[in-house]
């Protein structure tokens, strides 16, 4: 039997270790943010958003094409993922007891865990190889696949949170199930679903691996969906592994823009969820 003093000592050491592990995790976070901001801020200027990449040796230039490219590819992904995600979420919530809805839930969770690089390989097989052409569309498909499970699961969860009395009220008034869902339940859950979409966007905006061999990269400005297109992440990768100082600076600037986009999306989503959770409490 340990003495009381020893037991207290062990306990205090344990508490200290737990507090220390919080610090251990926050140090890299602070380091990463510090370097991204301090290095990035030196290279981010107006030209970064409006100009095209310059060739090696010519300082300056920007990533206008990559910024537009990221918006296009993420937009294509959303176009694909939002209908599939929301409607399959509706199905999972409305018919939650059925075997098929369990299968859909399992598929969504599985898809959520598939490494992004594997999704890239899949998109290459279905959208690049048949046409022998890297394209913005293929990139959009890859990102869309990654967004679907996030949107589907959030929609499901949020619909289940809508008070059953609201749905029952609609049904009691003679509404069909479709009417009850689309006119009453979905609108009530909408803020939360939008939060889910924003979170999904925040996640895919920072994805590189699935774009490497789908939307590929492009030195030029393009909005053609059947052509390879530049994205912020792939551009940062290309610059980061290059041996040139100027390009490294550009990579840090790109990283700063990326982190800003991703973190502001997360912040918006976070405040929105807090509001919803507040409503839930009432």
């Amino acid at each position: 039997m340990m003495s009381a003093r020893l037991r207290r000592l062990v306990s205090n050491l344990f508490v200290a270790f737990c507090a220390l592990s919080v610090l251990i995790a926050l140090v890299p976070l602070a380091f990463v943010l510090f370097f991204v901001v301090s290095q990035g801020i030196q290279a981010v200027n107006f030209a970064f958003f409006t100009q095209m990449p310059r060739p090696v040796g010519e300082p300056g230039g920007g990533m206008a094409n990559a910024i537009v490219g990221t918006l296009i590819v993420a937009g294509l992904g959303s176009l694909m993922a939002i209908p599939i995600g929301i409607l399959s979420g509706v199905y999972m919530a409305e018919y939650s007891g059925t075997r098929f809805s369990s299968a859909v839930r399992f598929a969504a969770d599985t898809l959520n865990g598939v490494p992004s690089i594997v999704i890239g390989v899949f998109a290459y097989g279905v959208a690049v190889m048949p046409f022998r052409q890297f394209s913005a569309l293929a990139g959009g498909i890859a990102l869309g696949i990654m967004m679907i499970p996030i949107i589907a699961r959030t929609t499901e969860e949020l619909i289940l949170l809508v008070p059953g009395t609201m749905r029952e009220g609609a049904l009691a008034l003679g509404a069909t199930r479709a009417r009850a869902v689309f006119s009453i339940v979905l609108p009530a859950a909408l803020p939360g679903i939008i939060t889910g979409i924003v979170l999904a966007l925040a996640r895919i905006a920072g994805e590189t691996a699935p774009l490497l061999f789908t939307s590929f990269n492009n030195r030029f400005f393009t909005t053609n969906l059947t052509q390879p297109i530049s994205t912020l992440t792939v551009q940062v990768f290309t610059y980061a592994i290059s041996p040139y100082e100027d390009w490294h600076r550009q990579a840090w600037a790109g990283a700063l823009v990326l982190v800003t986009i991703v973190l502001s999306c997360s912040l918006v989503a976070r405040f929105a969820t807090r509001r919803i959770e507040g409503l839930r409490g009432q």
Binding site: V22, G97, I119, V121, P149, G164, T176, R177, A240, L263
Partner: protein
């Protein structure tokens, strides 16, 4: 005459609704099936050519058409397990601190900060890895005393890039996943469990140890979830691991992972066999992460059962009234 007709049309509308939303849900299932099917189809050439020897040999020579994936499997497992060893104590420490120890006002900010860690894109970790972490690891290697470098675990020239850098960056990236699930799992431990322990005169550590033991299935699930993330992580690892296909026990040796070789060589794979070999690596990555993730979800889910039941109870009346 009119009333049943109306009723039937309403029911027909409901059936239509069910099939319409069901079609989109089916699309989700089909996408997952299609991923598996495509990967198998595209990798057949390599599977037929090499069979199981693909996973036992370690020559990776695209020009000679010889492909052995052992170094990649080794690198993926080594880096993920290393990340797990580094991340698990810290992640559990955070989970315990946030859910059991810290004052209430600190809870939300800490949850938010650990979530930020998960929100930072992999490519940004990679960039930071190349320019900050790798030089730091290099000076650490240079500071390693000569006698220690004789040990196989620390052998090799001080390059900076290599297994240690990869394991460290993966650990940072995995911590938020493991800790947030572990936190949820701890939340599902009944308060009576802790109160009972305290009532028996347990110290904080002893009470929390009891809670952790109570939640062990879920905790193991949380750790496995982190493992699944680490297995598939691509960009950050690609940028710091050194991309050298070799089977080495050394933390300082540059190595390679399955995800990294796909990322680096996929666009260069000119011939059919080369491409199929890379897709086969992707297929195995898909299967392994699928198994790991399913297992971890099963463990977490079995832990969270009581809460599930409560949610279901809320839903059931709506289901019945609609039926």
């Amino acid at each position: 005459m009119r009333r049943p007709a109306k009723g039937r049309s309403g029911r027909a509308g409901d059936t239509g609704f069910r099939f319409a939303t069901g079609a989109f849900a089916l699309a989700l299932v089909l996408i997952v099936a299609a991923i598996g099917f495509e990967l198998v189809r595209q990798s057949m050439v390599s599977v037929r050519a090499f069979g199981l020897s693909f996973w036992r040999t370690s020559t990776w020579d695209p020009i000679a058409g010889e492909f052995g994936a052992l170094p990649f499997i080794w690198g993926t497992l080594y880096s993920s397990i290393l990340a797990l060893v580094l991340a698990t104590p810290v992640a559990l420490g955070i989970a315990v601190f946030v859910s059991e120890l810290c004052p209430g006002w600190l809870k939300q900010p800490l949850v938010f900060l650990t979530e930020l860690l998960a929100a930072i894109p992999s490519i940004v970790y990679g960039l930071w890895g190349i320019f900050v972490l790798v030089p730091a690891v290099r000076s650490l290697q240079e500071a390693t005393p000569e006698w220690l470098r004789q040990v196989p675990l620390f052998s090799g020239p001080p390059l900076g890039v290599g297994m240690l850098a990869a394991g460290l960056i993966l650990a940072i990236m995995v911590i938020p996943f493991t800790s947030s699930v572990a936190r949820e799992v701890l939340k599902s431990v009944p308060a009576a469990q802790r109160e009972g322990a305290y009532a028996l005169g347990a110290t904080r550590f002893e009470a929390i140890r009891a809670a952790l033991y109570f939640a062990r299935t879920g905790i193991i699930g949380a750790v496995m979830l982190g493992f699944g993330r680490a297995l598939g992580e691509t960009m950050a690892v690609t940028m710091v691991i050194g991309n050298n296909p070799q089977v080495s026990a050394s933390l300082f040796a540059p190595q390679y992972t399955m995800a990294a070789v796909i990322a680096n060589e996929f666009t260069e794979a000119a011939d059919e066999l080369y491409l199929a070999a890379l897709v086969e690596i992707g297929l195995v990555l898909f299967i392994v992460t699928l198994i790991v993730n399913s297992l971890s979800r099963l463990l977490i889910w079995s832990m969270a059962q009581p809460t599930r039941r409560r949610v279901a109870a809320v839903v059931v009346p709506a289901e019945e009234s609609a039926a």
